[in-house]
Subunit: 371 residues, 2 copies
């Protein structure tokens, strides 16, 4: 206890304990302490450094050294390793792995830990996942909302995240009620682009298949309708097929079969909710010996590797999978770090990111044959 730095340390600690320095108050600068104790700056730094390590103080470059608030610090975990949770709907979907990949590479490079949870687009699972996250020490959450088109009964869990000061951002879709920070595509414009492309190629009988338990599908459908209105193409109500994720392997196929068997008004083009659906509908057209794009044009969505896997390279809408994952990671890291620096300055407003859909034209669409 005879060393100079130890004396300085003791004195500063005393000031914290006797209330001279109250929580979050700026203490004397290193320069002032130097003069006050008549020691070198290095000595001050050693003393302050130990106090910082022990959790009594915190430093901010350019601003000063501050007295820590030890009350809230009580549950302090030992490692400073941060955890980010990613909540997905389907891990094995083709677009989510890419999103995760983008996020994981950014996060792990910065020493973050990535935990994943999947809800299977099921509300109960989402609840379980959110409870689990709330009871651990997660520092930030990236979430793709489950059944985003519906009112979410788990909304309180998200409010709880806010109350616990855990930042979260939503990707692909978001719950309207929450108005959260989010990164989404302009799905309406995407659906519009899909449809307009077909209309411009002369198609008038365009079936649209949309998964409407997620907002993505609802918005794409809106875009589909809008494109028809804009170009004054009448919409046949039978041509709008909506389905839920549970039905995605059956309903669209049955409906398409029906439409293709119809005696009149047979569709000449198909707008699909995504590439996965487009590719699986191709089986039906193949069975019927229909040539794509000669007999029927088809447009996918997401520009996944499925779009190029088949003999018919799909015209589709580009989804910024990896970029979205990385951008989400970047954003959550900023939020977490700003959150962790105890200076509560006016937080810079982060902005939602809206990705512009871009139509990728390949060989699955073509000008309609004149009769």
């Amino acid at each position: 206890m005879q060393t100079k730095y130890n004396k300085v340390k003791q004195e500063i600690k005393t000031r914290i304990l006797d209330g001279t320095y109250v929580p979050n108050q700026k203490i004397n600068s290193e320069n002032e302490l130097m003069k006050e104790f008549g020691v070198s700056r290095h000595t001050i730094r050693v003393a302050v450094g130990e106090l910082v390590n022990e959790g009594w103080l915190y430093r901010e470059q350019g601003a000063g050294t501050f007295c820590a608030d030890r009350k809230t610090n009580e549950k302090k975990p030992k490692t400073n390793k941060k955890n980010i949770a990613i909540i997905t709907t389907f891990i094995s979907d083709y677009i989510f792995p890419s999103i995760i990949r983008g996020a994981e590479s950014y996060l792990s490079e910065r020493g973050y830990n990535v935990s994943i949870y999947s809800t299977n687009n099921n509300i109960d699972s989402e609840k379980r996942v959110l409870e689990s996250i709330l009871s651990q020490d997660v520092d930030g959450v990236i979430v793709e909302p489950t059944k985003s088109a519906f009112t979410n009964p788990n909304i309180n869990y998200y409010f709880n995240l806010e109350r616990m000061n855990i930042p979260y951002i939503m990707i692909n879709a978001f719950y309207e009620e929450l108005e959260p920070l989010c990164l989404v595509m302009d799905d309406e414009k995407g659906g519009y682009a899909q449809t307009e492309h077909l209309i411009e190629l002369g198609h008038k009988n365009i079936v649209g298949f949309f998964q409407t338990d997620d907002t993505q599908g609802v918005k794409r459908m809106k875009g589909y309708i809008k494109a028809h209105r804009k170009h004054q193409v009448p919409i046949n109500p039978n041509y709008i097929i909506s389905f839920f994720s549970e039905e995605k392997k059956t309903k669209p196929h049955e409906e398409l079969e029906k439409l293709l068997s119809a005696s009149a008004d047979v569709p000449t083009a198909i707008v699909c909710y995504n590439d996965e659906l487009a590719v699986s509908l191709l089986d039906i057209t193949r069975n019927r010996k229909l040539n794509i794009p000669k007999d029927i044009s088809i447009v996918g969505y997401d520009d996944s590797f499925l779009a190029e896997a088949t003999e018919v390279k799909l015209t589709t809408v580009k989804h910024p999978k990896m970029e979205m994952g990385e951008e989400a990671a970047r954003m959550i890291v900023n939020l977490v770090e700003e959150n962790h620096s105890p200076s509560r300055k006016a937080s810079p407003k982060y902005e939602n990111v809206l990705y512009e859909p871009k139509l990728v034209i390949r060989q699955s669409t073509r000008k309609i044959e004149d009769k």
Copy 2:
């Protein structure tokens, strides 16, 4: 991470984690480290100081600095939540998401936390990931080995896992040197099945494409050769094409183009390392107006959704993706819980799981046409 002291710190930490410094061993003196890193003593002291603070090292004046023994230090019954880390090669591959999904659903139901890491089949990334895992409190690890066909320079990290009593199991492949618990397919038998099927259909000129930086590929190639021997079909050495993961998008395609352009001995069948490759090679046969399976038969591996995405439904080998993930999860949970229960009964020997490959015959293979 750009600062000098941080580099020094990182390097020292690496030496602790990779076993260069074992617990209680004296590490290099400050003087030696100065020379070694070409930095001042101050810098060394800052780096070592932080590691001491984090519990990796301890110093003794006059004696030296020593590697701390962390496993005895493991007296933290803080959270009852357990963490499982899954290390993958490529998150966005088509089989890994399914494996993760299987594991995630089992683990999260049992209150486990799932963290994922991806190495991109790159040794340096694997090292980074393992260091990160060793620095946290992970309770169990499921790992798909990186570059499993080669001697792994990160092997010491796995020994360190053992020393720290963290169970790990390997899936899809394993490092021979470690003899770990593992869940793998019988890839040799799989390659054998692919090839034998073609031979039985009368094919004699069978090209094989194998990714040989992972054991899976090496073993499948073995099976390919074995099938030829068994049926006394001579092997044309030019017909065995091996490639590394970095080349997977180019080399096989170039080689196939060459073979198909040859004047004589044109192959009549193709054995592929996996469905992804098979599907992408289909582009080449399509461009050459070759009919599958009339002109060429092709066999994939994994029975992924790609196998059914194209116009040619692939004959392929079934990979128990989800089951493997779930089984791995079940196994690691057992190991972790047995580990944590204080009763140290003779641990029941867990057994490796060897999945039998099953050929799924679809439309991409057919009996060779007689001339």
